[in-house]
């Protein structure tokens, strides 16, 4: 079995192992970096097969049902459940665990050059981070206890030619430069280059390309932490 088990990467990526084989292979994955890298690549190819299906669209009501069920989970209300959904609820936990195990074991990253966004994700994923709504724009500032912060802004026009959005952290005195962004796609997720002390304000102004040392205009929007 030991020599053959490496060959199970492809069947595993296709969910084509029986339960026993699957358990054995997952055990093997823990100690085999080669199989983990291979699995990363093969799983991406396997999931591409999902796109090849020419099937009808789901009933519009499905979206609402999923969001209702998600809301109930969050609010911890024990809802009335039909038998069908009750069966589903226990399956969800097992499903999340099974696939998280497979994904959590993946050691090698996929090619993804969005390093800045990844470091932003670290703050967004921090459960202790505080989220403050923006006034003047749609979005929020998410601030970790360390002061590391991410600005999430949506429905924002791209900055005009020759101009850029500049972020400022104002701890009380002179505002400090905290990064530039363009909102090319109508919004932005930006990791601030300056830490945000508790109680500080974060502001955004429109400045000339390259940014300036001190804000020249009124803030377009503000988050008061």
């Amino acid at each position: 079995m030991a020599a053959e088990i490496h060959e199970l990467t492809a069947p595993y990526a296709l969910d084509a192992l029986d339960e026993l084989e699957e358990r054995e292979f997952e055990e093997h994955l823990r100690g085999c970096g080669d199989c983990r890298s291979e699995l990363t690549a093969l799983s991406e190819a396997a999931s591409a097969l999902a796109y090849a299906v020419d099937a009808p669209a789901p009933a519009p009501a499905l979206r609402g049902r999923i969001l209702d069920a998600a809301r109930r989970e969050r609010s911890n209300v024990v809802p009335f459940r039909s038998r069908r959904i009750a069966v589903g609820a226990s399956a969800v936990a097992a499903l999340a665990a099974a696939v998280a195990l497979a994904f959590g074991l993946w050691a090698n990253s996929l090619s993804n050059s969005l390093d800045a966004e990844r470091s932003a994700n670290g703050v967004l994923r921090d459960p202790t981070a505080q989220s403050t709504p923006l006034s003047g724009a749609s979005g929020r500032l998410v601030r970790a206890e360390s002061g590391d912060a991410v600005l999430v802004v949506s429905s924002l026009r791209p900055s005009p030619p020759g101009k850029t959005y500049e972020i400022w952290v104002a701890p009380g005195g002179r505002p400090l430069r905290a990064g530039l962004f363009e909102a090319e796609s109508g919004g932005a997720v930006v990791r601030l280059s300056e830490r945000v002390p508790a109680g500080a304000k974060v502001m955004v102004t429109l400045e000339r390309d390259g940014g300036v040392d001190a804000p020249t205009g009124k803030p377009l929007f503000i988050a008061a932490t």
Binding site: E7, L8, A10, L14, D15, A16, D18, E21, A41, L42, S43, E44, A45, A46, S47, L49, A50, Y51, V53, D54, A55, P56, A57, P58, A59, L62, R63, R65, I66, A69, A70, R74, R84, G88, A89, V92, A93, L95, A96, A98, V99, A100, F103, G104, W106, S109, N112, L114, E117, A120, N121, L124, R125, P127, V152, S154, S185, G186, G187, V189
Partner: protein, 196 residues
């Protein structure tokens, strides 16, 4: 519902879902719900079961978004893996896979207009890539991925040794990855195709 997160990457939307942002879950559904449901219907051949599989997969996304590691996998791969895993679990339980898995589900008619362009493009791209695979490889991938057959069941069904089935799966996935990963045709992969 406004799509506030329309400009964000999948991975950033997952991070927001991990913070309990319901609109982030809605955004992920708007991006992948249709592919997810199409896949589940193809495997399960039952709309109600397919809806269950999709609902459970998206709730698993909601519940475990905080554990998702974007540096290890694409969010879309994770979501579609959840859907696939659940649909395969259900089809094995229901013994529905005895129907011929190569039979094509009747394509949707009338709602093609509301299908996102990127989705149609992606479907054609993957279908084209599949056509370039040698028949035995394509057959192994389709029976496993859409049919929910295990490798041992496939070996029996195809009358081939297990080792052959495994190597067809491996060769098929590797080739598919190569075809999908490289948008410029290479000498090896390029084949003249008649325009129809």
């Amino acid at each position: 519902m406004p799509r506030d997160f329309a400009h964000l990457s999948d991975e950033a939307v997952v991070a927001l879902a991990a913070r309990g942002e319901e609109t982030a879950l809605a955004e992920l559904y708007d991006r992948y719900g249709r592919v997810a449901y199409g896949l589940a219907v193809r495997i399960l051949r039952d709309q109600s079961l397919a809806e269950d599989a999709v609902q459970e997969a998206f709730l698993a996304v909601w519940r475990s978004a905080d554990r998702f590691m974007p540096e290890r996998a694409k969010a879309s791969t994770w979501i579609l893996t959840l859907v696939h895993r659940r649909a395969v679990d259900l089809v094995r339980r229901e013994e529905r896979r005895r129907t011929d898995p190569l039979e094509v589900v009747a394509p949707a008619s009338g709602d093609a207009a509301d299908e996102a362009t990127w989705l149609r493009f992606e479907r054609e791209r993957v279908q084209d890539a599949l056509k370039l695979l040698p028949d035995p490889q394509r057959e192994a991938l389709e029976l496993a991925y859409y049919g929910g057959f295990t490798q041992s069941e496939l070996a029996e069904r195809l009358g081939q040794p297990l080792g052959t089935v495994k190597s067809r799966m491996f060769a098929g996935l590797s080739r598919l990855r190569q075809l999908l990963g490289d948008p410029t045709p290479t000498e090896e992969s390029w084949q003249p195709r008649s325009t129809s």
